[in-house]
Amino acid sequence: MSLLTVDNLEVSFVTRNGTHKAVKGVSFTVETQQITAIIGESGSGKSVSCYALLGLIPSPPGRIDGGSAQFQGQNLLTLSEAELRKIRGSDVAMIFQDPMTCLNPYLTIGEQLIEPLLIHRNLSRADAKTRAIELLDEVGIRSPNSTFDSFPHEFSGGMRQRVMIAMALINEPKLLIADEPTTALDVTIQAQILRLIADLQKNRDIGVLFISHDLAVVSDIADQIVVMEQGEVVESGSPDAIFNHAQHPYTQKLLAAIPAGEREEPAAKNQVLINVCNLRTWFQPNAKAEPVKAVDDVSFDIYRGEILGLVGESGSGKSTLGRSIMRLAPITSGQVTFDETHLTGLEGRNLKEFRSRMQMIFQDPFASLNPRMTVYDTLAEPLLLHGICQRANLDRHIAKLMDDVGLARNFIRKYPHEFSGGQRQRIAIGRALATQPEFIVADEPVSALDVTIQAQILDLLMALGREHNLTMLFVSHDMAVIRHIADRVLVMYHGKIVEAGPVKQVFNNPAEPYTQSLLSSIPGAAMM
């Protein structure tokens, strides 16, 4: 008897523009002491299927059209809101993608942890506190006693996610639903959280339903994988069956999208385009405070025509380094030389001229495009500003740019919110290419995207790089992506470059222990 049996679930959303079937007859099971992973892109209905079980879909517009979900002898779909509320948070618990938005910033961690104990279990405050501290210890938080009285902002993303897991476990659920719990985390932290979830599920006798867009992430921990596409289950089976004997073309596409392998041995490049020398970018919060050394005495060269990978965890200073080169962050000391011109002293018109030669692609395509400018306006701005083309043949230039980045021309009058993440990133790439730059800083350009879209954007960047003979600084926390795209790689840790070299050398014979720990965190390494 399975812990949860979902049979033929159907969910649709009724909007003014008609009924949209989000989930079309989905069936899966979750066993005790096992992890079932649901894999799919955004919009595949994977989250909707799970939220519908707990009555968490806003209705209207959401509507459950049919199916059943047997959990401990009850059909969840027929329960009333009051009965569901009893199940949520006690027998079934959830953890979410963004641990920051799920914690109340004005209450201590402890206060939020014991709240359900005080309400549901009628425990005394002292007992509840003991229980909460045991749990914090269990989810791997060091010094749980002092943690109890801390506020959420005092923790890193990984620690907050641990707190969320402790919170989910506090009423000893039978079923844990984890909705992309590691997507917002760094690769090394992600590996730790995945291990924690796997351990908990074995020690605690619970079933886990793990939702993710990333096949590689779940490959290490899942017992059962369910692949969803456009509201339907296209394939399900053990990780071994999925990875080695995938039947459905969509699963094969997902597998192919996992960044793997490295580029062919590149022809050695030796013409220096950018020289960074003893660069320091320190932030001084106020006169008395110790400065934050985001970038601390960094020197390296970027050769013309290469893709240089810059890898590190959040807080390592890798984004600040990229932004310092772009003159977006104030440089404390040191020198950046671009094609034998010092960038650090440039102002006004001279700086503007250089801006056209170097461009940036940002991480979040939802934030990097002006929401009130159409694609046309966004692309027209750099073209006119730098006199790339005359007003008369502007339309032709914009059409060419859209072709280059793979956007259909009839999108030209649309606003950013009407596009998907991948399409938006294409617009952002088009904007960066508009000034015909020689050098591009790509700051985590694929981190916010689904795996299959990520593969498309990486391919696009590589193709454009070849076509326009671009030099690129590719910043990422994802070792697999760097390995896929870069010629050489710099590893950054606490504001310093700890290792540098050709991709093959760094990945096969990492010298630094830090690089080794980054490499061992790549998800799905065992399956590849």
Binding site: R16, N17, R323, M326, R327, L328, R349, L351, K352, E353, R355, S356, M358, Q359, M360, F362, Q363, D364, A367, S368, L369, N370, P371, R372, M373, T374, Y376, D377, A380, E381, P382, L384, L385, H386, G387, Q390, R391, L394, R413, Y415, H417, A428, R431, T435
Partner: protein, 299 residues
């Protein structure tokens, strides 16, 4: 590239802006919003009426008929007459000239100063921001009445001065709203993207910051216009603004309120004119805000 070419390019950008899609799209969306169109047409009618009052008004501005006294609406006097036998319709029409002018001119002054001031302070930040906002704080702390009385004493009583004085006070809040909007906007990546494209700060504020900060500003503007009209009434009541025989809606209402039990029409009709204007403004303001919010549209 030579300097000459550079300046030509700036001109090209200006032309592009005139045909900017945001405003054209906003106009099309606004036209579909019946409430907003209704509000706009009503406002236009009121403004037309105010402009053409000397030709449209049924009676002369000073004409009294003391024999008639305060009489209720009739065929000769559609909205009745006041205690001096003056036609209420004529008074409301002439009053509208002053009230609408005060409302729109003072608000325009406030809008121009406030939005620019707030945008610059918020965008530049640091010391400039601190100095600019302290100036705003000092002006806030200054007692408004003393400020106006001082202006009147120094420059003499003058309707145009009244507009400027009110505008000079109302821009403070506008600047604060704008500054907080801009502060959050300038952290956005699309502003960084604009910097890395090489746009000048002025162009970034104009093209990327202000269009995204307009929502709250428009709503606050539609709230400012009525409050400015009431402020004028208050000042006039104290003898600092418009003086009889000149009149405004605010003055008519305050006189009407004194006699509302005996002669209710003296309060009802000026009041109706004011509330109709305010409703129209609110509908138009809401419509404008929605029209400018490209994300809200489903077309």
């Amino acid at each position: 590239m030579t300097t000459l070419q550079a300046s030509e390019q700036v001109d090209l950008l200006e032309h592009a802006e005139q045909g900017a899609s945001l405003w054209r799209d906003a106009w099309q969306r606004l036209r579909k919003n019946k409430m907003a169109v209704g509000g706009g047409i009503t406002l236009l009618l009121f403004i037309l009426m105010a402009l053409l009052t000397p030709w449209l008004a049924p009676y002369s501005y000073e004409a009294q008929n003391l024999d008639l006294g305060a009489s209720p609406p009739s065929a000769a006097h559609w909205l009745g007459t006041d205690v001096f036998g003056r036609d209420v319709l004529t008074q409301v029409m002439y009053g509208g000239r002053v009230s609408l002018a005060v409302g729109f001119i003072a608000t325009a002054v406030a809008l121009l100063i406030g939005v620019t001031w707030g945008a610059v302070a918020g965008y530049v930040g640091g010391r400039v921001d601190a100095v600019m906002m302290r100036i705003v704080d000092i002006l806030y702390a200054l007692p408004f009445m003393i400020f106006i009385v001082l202006l009147m004493v120094v420059f003499g009583r003058n309707v145009l001065l009244l507009f400027l004085a009110i505008g000079a006070v109302e821009w403070l809040t506008m600047a604060r709203i704008m500054r907080s909007q801009v502060q959050s906007l300038r952290q956005q990546e699309f502003v960084e993207a604009a910097i890395s494209l090489g746009l000048s700060p002025a162009a970034i504020i104009r093209r990327h910051v202000i269009p995204n900060a307009l929502g709250p500003i428009i709503v606050y503007t539609t709230l400012t216009i009525p409050s400015v009209m009431l402020l004028e009434a208050f000042l006039s009541f104290l003898g600092l603004g418009i003086q009889p025989p000149q009149t405004s809606w605010g003055l008519l209402i305050s006189y009407g309120a004194e006699t509302m039990e005996e002669y209710p029409w003296l309060l009802i009709f000026p009041g109706l004119a004011l509330t109709t204007t305010l409703f129209s403004l609110n509908f138009l303001g809401d419509g404008l805000r929605d029209a400018l919010d490209v994300r809200g549209s489903k077309d």
